[in-house]
Symmetry: C2
Subunit: 345 residues, 2 copies
Amino acid sequence: MALLKILGTELPIIQAPMAGAQDSKLAIAVSNAGALGSLPCAMLTTDGVHEQMTAVRAQTDKPVNVNAFCHVPPTPDGAREAAWRSALAPYFEEFGLDLDAIPQAPVRAPFSDEVAEVLAAFRPEIVSFHFGLPTPALLARVKAWGARVLSSATTVEEARWLEERGVDAIIAQGLEAGGHRGMFLTDDVTTQIGTFALLPQLVRAVKVPVIAAGGIADASGVAAAMALGAAGVQIGTAYLLCPETMISDAHRAALKSEAARYTALTNLFSGRPARGIVNRVMRELGPMSPVAPAFPLASAALAPLRASAESHGSGDFSPLWCGQMPDGCREVPSAMLTQDLAAGL
Amino acid sequence: MALLKILGTELPIIQAPMAGAQDSKLAIAVSNAGALGSLPCAMLTTDGVHEQMTAVRAQTDKPVNVNAFCHVPPTPDGAREAAWRSALAPYFEEFGLDLDAIPQAPVRAPFSDEVAEVLAAFRPEIVSFHFGLPTPALLARVKAWGARVLSSATTVEEARWLEERGVDAIIAQGLEAGGHRGMFLTDDVTTQIGTFALLPQLVRAVKVPVIAAGGIADASGVAAAMALGAAGVQIGTAYLLCPETMISDAHRAALKSEAARYTALTNLFSGRPARGIVNRVMRELGPMSPVAPAFPLASAALAPLRASAESHGSGDFSPLWCGQMPDGCREVPSAMLTQDLAAGL
């Protein structure tokens, strides 16, 4: 099977990289279970990447996937930032926080020469990208150490674009998926479609293997994705309650509650549309706000509100990333979850 | 197989009822092809129902499905109607139309004693409902002539509600589906999820057979739905280009164009969220407008704009219903399409 050759794994199952929700611990456990564990780097410093990859190499000899974002950092827009702060001002007042003392939050950084330099020493077998691909030079550098490259497509056009640029396999990210939409040739959310509709279109459109993502959370979902022509699956939300993640108590509680049945695409937490459980700030500002600064700048001003709310156990201002199939979340070791998912192959 | 017993058909495939887009012609052709043809009654007068059912009984001896809406007609709200007309006023001016001369348009009517009276004479084998179920008395009347009853669920709660009230099978309407969302226990669109996520949840939640709908448009989609636990499938959009439908030239052209890749839920055309191809009025007023009158009243004031635009071949003000899988639309006889879909069983 072509995809297994590319991934070098026993199972055509990828644990979706979930920046902020997991580190090497989950990746290691999943890779050791025969699937492909993923280490998200978008919110790590280069030192962090080094530390996490050191842990990976120490604790598994199986292939691992390193994931990076490759957005173009926006030019800060003073007027938009001001409008955003003004929208958030009532909350700062309510929480007794100072709007003029917003700290520099760590922002999601795109893949860079510096990160590639760190990674080159570890030669991760797989590198997956979100929001397109890095520059041709950076992509060539990744391939030069022997890595196979994956990226997400949300439309037929994106899949063709990625194939033309030499990716080894494409992740079809259906609209059910939690977290950030990988869309990069469009910012029009009306182009974003469900896994049932997207997957077979991509399978027809490209020759490289297509990996299904979005709404797949148990063995029957895996079986259905394979029936639709997927070469493999990428699964995120289902892993969120595993003991190897590091989500907040508020996120964990929300995932286990009825609230998880209500998700929406929102740009409030980062500036790009991402699927999360509807919470107070999404309800009150509208999940998609025209004043939220461009990705990834929206997160900075929200950070103090988030920290304050979370310190009281509240997820009212947190990104509660979640796909449309939270029923698949189980508080079991990720190795067990992986084996259960594999029953659908 | 339980569903085939219920439907009385050779194939567990239902042609989705599409009010305004088809009449008995499509239903007859599909039923004769071994699947279940559907006659939508929501926009028919009782005379129309009689005429169409007479045609059905004359042209096929196979089972047929009659579909009706069962919303509660709203109390007209003068302020909201005024706000709606005010939102539409610039278009009336542009088209040289008189906002004060809006004719009484035929509105979608809920299932009633009068319709039941007409249908009783024909004893349709299957009656499917959208937006819940009619009153217990009306439901009993339908069952009294031996009809099997189907209805759509968009959440686990709706599926359980329908099962408790005695439906014979439940249609799981995934978010990919074109046309009206069948949601009836909630008006919160954040509860609406993709077929991949919805279908297995409903299969687990109820004992009656579950029929998959939304994003299924070819044999591989049928196979995937069955793999997810569906007892059968309901397919709408794929039939829209068949010669037996009666869609407008503008709708046909849109379905065949790149525009069909851009769909959204919109309440502009009726007052309830329904999926259609993004067109001018959806772009300019926003696909979901808080000023659109309650279902089904929103359609009246739009009707003159729609008629005027369509007379020039434009779908700018028309409901261009379409699911997220327009690739499945083919200009072939519906019997041929049905046989091709059946290859996925």
